[in-house]
Subunit: 244 residues, 2 copies
Amino acid sequence: MAGAPAAALYQQLKDFVVRKIQEGVWQPGDRLPSESELVTQFGMSRMTVNRALRELSEQGRIVRVAGVGSFVAEDKPQSTLLQIANLASEIRQRGHDYRCDVLVVERVSAALEVAAALDVRTGDSVFHTLCVHREDGVPVQLEDRYVNPAMVPQFGAQDFAQLQPSEYLVRNVPFDQIEHVVDAVMPTPEQAALLEMPVGEPCLLLTRRTWSRGAVITLVRCLHPATRYRLGSRFRADGHPLNG
Amino acid sequence: MAGAPAAALYQQLKDFVVRKIQEGVWQPGDRLPSESELVTQFGMSRMTVNRALRELSEQGRIVRVAGVGSFVAEDKPQSTLLQIANLASEIRQRGHDYRCDVLVVERVSAALEVAAALDVRTGDSVFHTLCVHREDGVPVQLEDRYVNPAMVPQFGAQDFAQLQPSEYLVRNVPFDQIEHVVDAVMPTPEQAALLEMPVGEPCLLLTRRTWSRGAVITLVRCLHPATRYRLGSRFRADGHPLNG
DNA sequence: AAGTGGTCTAGACCACCGC
DNA sequence: CGGTGGTCTAGACCACTTC
């Protein structure tokens, strides 16, 4: 607990503003002092004030409108964020062994649901892969993936023994939008067998779609035995990273 | 398609660096040119170069080490975010009726698990509430909540008919850290009865803890029938909001 | 000692908004 | 028109790492 070196000036100003908001002195919709007023009040340069307010704006605490002013954002963050980590790195970070068995790589004719999700016509040929991801040999995820060949034509020609499907996509087809849906489901007998789990136990089902420039790249359904996998995260509301 | 005004200089530099990384010209672990080198190459001021690299660092594309240099990050943004919305506003946004039945408000002696989660001693008296949240009359969430009385001493004296427990806490005890864990579980017979659902169907269990200044405010376990509730979100990867 | 990133200053020009 | 935020410059000092 040695005297911490004084925080950066822009951070001091950020803290000051956040405190005013949390204490209710500045209410949602209220106007903040302008940059030049803060320059005068705090004796900082405008660049420093601007950085503080810009970062608060990026964090959603305030709203800035050029030519008008800065305002306390409406309502507390009513929604919170859950971080979904990469399975392989998550497992390796725990110091465990990670392995991926690629069970199926094929082209199939898109059924109704898949066609709708990928935004292609029913019956169009799409790529399909099925993988089991293992932590220290135990299956933790059954990954059922469909890929839009219009977006990734060379997908079928990859050697997935070297680079698993999801890694290949992450590295080669950067996405700009992503959609997640989390469900609780009971596994089918086939799924339970592949996951080496009892049929009576529930699973977390994470369904994800990614887009690039408005077109769907891939639809993936990740099935996790609930006893072996939980989605979790811890966040600081102010945007600072949590170390430890 | 009117000629877009030239992007900001710092944005041009960000785009340049991202392109180099995506094209593989700069590989993970590679060292980027130093700020002063970029100043020379691009004819920008150091403040502008610094802003570009700082934002790339915040976005996880590069790693910066004072005194050493800037490096392409090892892993692409491997984790994505799932937004967890406020249940009541989510239901109302769908145009449905929202109702909350408060079944239990009591003080109980903290059992082992609850005491550990709230960071109090086993046997300490804590607040406990149990609520059923309904969408158009149908139960969608069973909320089992424990509150640390040291943090919210007046919690037990509230009129939860007017303001349900979670709303009261959101409005009166701002949190600065939050932890989420998502599980798939089977409901107990009692839980299934309160949720008016069959016992054989799985549930999503969202467990949340919130902190203020390092102390736990509340532990809440939200149990959702999987057939009536899914956790979902769509995000843009670049941090811009998705409108619509 | 030389190089790096982290921060800060005191100016500046611009587009935009509201009057 | 004056005020606002958005951006940019050309310097500067510092703590830190590497040699």
